[in-house]
């Protein structure tokens, strides 16, 4: 079914240690451009850890040791690109909607501002465009000056997506972006993800297997730091090669 798309990330022999504890074990995978790649697996298997290696958020934690390479468009993100530049290209959306305690406008304008855009007209345009792309413009356009914490959780999450889009990334990492949301908000975010993949590469961590099967093109299954199986979503869910994968998606554990 899938045309072979361009490879966005190449992960080679990735190992990650929190001190003595090995959280990722020898991960190798290619992540494709303009696709949604889902990471599934039980709690604590290293999904978030892996996601955070892609925009180097683990750099913030003391005592983390990372081995192996991750290349984005052929460039090693741990040695050949400035971390600020990397994070500008690889946006992130978190599990809990976490807008800054400031207005919706200021939230979305935050990224462009820290990258030096000051002109009001330009910021206005970016804010509107980003909120529109995040499918939340119509709901908040009259409340841009209101505190972002005053809108619903689902709206907050889409504002956070807009905030990530405002710096014009290529990639969006989403760490269980709907696990704190009601079903209707969840549906909106899923629709949004499907919409966004035409323009961005999306990697989503999810606890919810239906979600992975509904929206993703490829799925990777993790277990205690190992990547057990990775392939096209249809194949993983209908015809898993590994016994452990099958056990997990049929709900025998996790």
């Amino acid at each position: 079914m899938s045309l072979q798309k361009k490879c966005k990330f190449q992960v080679n022999d990735l190992n990650l240690f929190y001190g003595n504890f090995q959280a990722l074990k020898n991960i190798n995978m290619d992540i494709h451009e303009n696709e949604i790649t889902a990471f599934i697996g039980p709690s604590g298997c290293g999904k978030s850890t892996f996601l955070k290696t892609i925009n180097r958020m683990n750099d913030l934690i003391d005592g983390v040791i990372i081995e192996g390479t991750i290349k984005m468009d052929g460039v090693d993100i741990y040695s050949d690109i400035d971390v600020i530049k990397l994070r500008k290209k690889v946006g992130m959306v978190f599990q809990q909607p976490n807008p800054f305690p400031m207005s919706i406008y200021d939230n979305v304008a935050y990224g462009p501002r820290v990258h030096g855009i000051k002109k009001k007209a330009q910021l206005d345009e970016i804010v509107e465009e980003s909120l529109k792309r995040a499918a939340v413009w119509d709901e908040v356009k009259d409340r841009l000056k209101k505190n972002a914490l005053s809108v619903s959780g689902g709206q907050q999450q889409r504002v956070c997506i807009a905030r990530a889009l405002a710096v014009e990334p290529d990639v969006i990492l989403m760490d269980e972006p709907t696990s704190a949301l009601d079903p209707i908000s969840t549906m909106k975010i899923e629709d949004l993800a499907l919409e966004l993949k035409n323009k961005y590469t999306i990697i989503i961590v999810t606890h919810n297997m239906q979600q992975a099967s509904r929206i993703s093109d490829r799925t990777a299954f993790f277990l205690t730091g190992d990547m057990i199986e990775y392939g096209e979503t249809e194949q993983i869910f209908n015809n898993p090669k590994e016994k452990k994968t099958e056990d997990y998606i049929t709900g025998r554990f996790g």
Binding site: D62, R87, M92, F100, G111, R113, V114, N147
Partner: protein, 390 residues
């Protein structure tokens, strides 16, 4: 013992302790208020502490001399009365009275006020009525004085004026200076230190040592800081008893508290703010100035307000560094920069002058300031928290 009995005894002690605490608080406040209230007058609130003597030149009115029945002296355009200790006091001053255009030795206007006491006209000293009360009545005494004035009707005369003190203005001003100066020094340093400790420092032994040091600094009695300040700032740095010596010493006392409170506040700021900001490609400094600090403002403000309380209440350290002179400091350091805060003055009033009423009156002012600080810190926290959660 059965459970009910145990509960009963426990409850008794809990209520009794709470009762004692409330009783003590009310009792102390009542004591201060009852003792001090008579001392709180307009003069107390608006006057200098020391009497002030000034020579002024006054262009007396022309025309009739003498004195009215009610003590009105036309050449002065003011009512006068006998003053107990010395000379005569002004009691009521006409709108166009020449005493309002009195000029001091430097040529500056020094408008006389009610209760100013005149003790000398040109070279004629005005004896106190006490000295002459056996030989004349008050009316005769005032008439004599009126005659002296009449001689100079229409002329410019040099008069010695004593403006009575008894007020707390210098202490209020000194306290205010002390608050501003100490916070200007302590707040930026401690906030930056807290940011370093919470946002930059690598967790480990060194950080533990720093935290241990800060905890212990906070526990040292302020007299120790006072001794250090009086040796280091007052003597070695030759700042003398001064505003700056005091403010530096207090700043050191405040550091651990503001650092700790600010750090606590920084700790409560969700890590996701930092992650989101950095995730958008912001630098660490941008993250701190644009997201972390604004979110920490309520906590920092509360820390600063509590510090104000601490400065207002500090005695031992200031006694040894800022001195006990009841004056408005005229410089930051050096020999005219000394000044007593309200608390210091209350202390010396009791200790050296045995003046309980004035000390308690100052106590009332201090109570009002402290209660005001506590209320505003509550309001700030509430208001800013509301705004955050809105």
């Amino acid at each position: 013992m059965d459970r009910r009995k145990k509960d009963g005894i426990a409850n008794f002690f809990i209520y009794a302790s709470a009762g004692i605490t409330v009783f003590l608080l009310v009792f102390i406040i009542l004591f201060i208020v009852i003792k001090g209230l008579p001392g709180i007058t307009i003069d107390f609130l608006t006057r200098n502490y020391e009497d002030k003597t000034t020579y002024v030149n006054i262009q007396l009115n022309k025309g009739e001399g003498g004195i009215g029945e009610d003590g009105y002296l036309p050449v002065l355009g003011a009512y006068i009365t006998v003053n107990e200790q010395k000379g005569i006091a002004l009691t009521k001053i006409d709108k166009d009275s020449p005493v309002k255009e009195a000029v001091d030795g430097l040529g500056e206007v020094y408008a006389l006020k009610n209760k100013d006491t005149l003790t000398k006209i040109e070279d004629t000293a005005i004896d106190s009525y006490e000295k002459v009360k056996d030989s004349m009545t008050q009316e005769e005494y005032l008439k004599n004085i009126a005659e002296i004035f009449s001689e100079y009707a229409g002329q410019s005369v040099k008069i010695k004026v004593v403006r009575p003190g008894g007020g707390i203005v210098p202490m209020v001003v000194t306290t205010f200076y002390m608050i501003v100066l100490s916070l200007l020094i302590a707040a930026p340093v401690s906030i930056l230190a807290a940011i370093y400790l919470n946002e930059y420092a690598v967790k480990g032994k060194l950080l533990n040592i720093i935290h241990f040091a800060i905890k212990n600094l906070a526990g040292i009695p302020s007299i120790i800081y006072g001794l250090f300040g009086s040796l280091f700032f007052v003597q070695i740095l030759k700042m003398q008893y001064s505003l700056l010596s005091g403010a530096m010493t207090i700043s050191i006392i405040l550091l651990p508290t503001i650092i700790t409170t600010t750090e606590e506040t920084l700790k409560t700021i969700p890590n996701t703010y930092r992650e989101s900001s950095l995730g958008l490609g912001a630098t660490k400094l941008q993250t701190i100035t644009k997201v972390i600090l604004p979110s920490a403002v309520p906590g920092i403000l509360v820390a600063v307000l509590l510090s104000v309380g601490r400065i207002v209440g500090e005695s031992a350290a200031l006694l040894l560094t800022a001195g006990t002179v009841a004056q408005i400091p005229k410089a930051l350091f050096g020999n005219s920069a000394s000044g007593a805060t309200l608390t210091i003055k209350a202390y010396t009033l009791m200790k050296e002058e045995n003046d309980l009423t004035t000390a308690c009156a100052i106590g009332i002012i201090l109570l009002i300031i402290i209660i005001g600080i506590n209320i505003s810190s509550k309001l700030i926290t509430k208001k800013l928290l509301q705004k955050k959660g809105a």
